[in-house]
């Protein structure tokens, strides 16, 4: 019986992982937005990661992050993998921590904005290590402003999609 539940959980995680990949793929085919460093993306797949962190757990959310990074690595090369991994891990830990706070002062929007900012910070740190210079932090102000905007958008979308995503989970776990 326990085994059956485990299989169902694995299947659900597979579907969530696929959804995260589909969203990552989607935002890669958009052209770069003017005024932003190219490579700055809205982070729609964070919708799935956040839902997973909130309803399943840290391990599951991290698994999705790793799948996303591997996808980035396979399609866009090693530095894309490192960037995706560094940003993803930091943002997943941030959202999980904020979601688990007792009587959290943050709503979905706040958690989303904080995790978007954490994602960018992780990427800047990775870029600093990759290039060997802290000068990449020149990107910081633009990225931070962009994180606030995209965090608000993904947070709102998650709020809207929540019933549908919960329904999907129930389909697998019931």
């Amino acid at each position: 019986m326990a085994r059956k539940t485990n299989n169902r959980k694995t299947a659900l995680l597979g579907v969530l992982g696929a959804q995260a990949l589909a969203l990552s793929f989607l935002e890669n085919i958009f052209p770069a937005l003017p005024g932003l460093p190219p490579g700055a993306k809205p982070g729609f797949s964070n919708i799935v990661t956040m839902f997973t962190a909130a309803t399943a757990g840290l391990g599951e959310a991290l698994a999705i992050t790793v799948i996303k990074s591997v996808f980035a690595g396979v399609t866009r090369g090693l530095s894309a993998f490192i960037m995706s991994f560094a940003g993803g891990i930091l943002s997943t830990f941030t959202m999980f921590f904020l979601l688990r706070l007792k009587s959290s002062p943050f709503g979905i929007a706040g958690v989303s904005v904080a995790s978007a900012a954490a994602h960018n910070l992780g990427q800047l740190l990775a870029a600093a290590v990759l290039t060997g210079t802290s000068s990449v932090f020149g990107y910081a102000p633009v990225l931070l402003l962009f994180a606030v905007a995209t965090g608000l958008v993904t947070g709102t979308v998650l709020k809207v999609l929540m019933p549908a995503l919960r329904k999907q989970s129930r389909y697998f776990l019931k």
Binding site: I108, A109, A114, T131, S134
Partner: protein, 125 residues
Amino acid sequence: MKTLFKKADFLLIAVLCLVCAALFLPRFFGAGKLEAVIYCEGAPFRRVDLSTVKEAYTIWLDAQGVVLKVEPGAIGYESSNCPDKLCVRTGRLTRPGDTAACLPSKTVVVLEGGFFRKGPDVMTY
């Protein structure tokens, strides 16, 4: 995990916007000398004073597979061997603090000047 906005959310967003504004402001006071610093593998490789450039020219970084274009008051990646070309798509850098990075080739170009005129800030490992 039900409400979209709580009080702390607005506070967080306000703080982030303030930090952002504080980081942005110095870029609008970059009068005087405008110097491009080209970093290769973490070390400053070459400095170009963009305010004295009269005619456009190119810099070839053969080992990195990168070509930079220098213009009066501007610099940018012209071409690169990297897979994603994010560096080329960054376009021309014109203000102090502007940054373009090419991760696969481990090169970074930063404009210094005004508030951003400082010594070498190289991380060593």
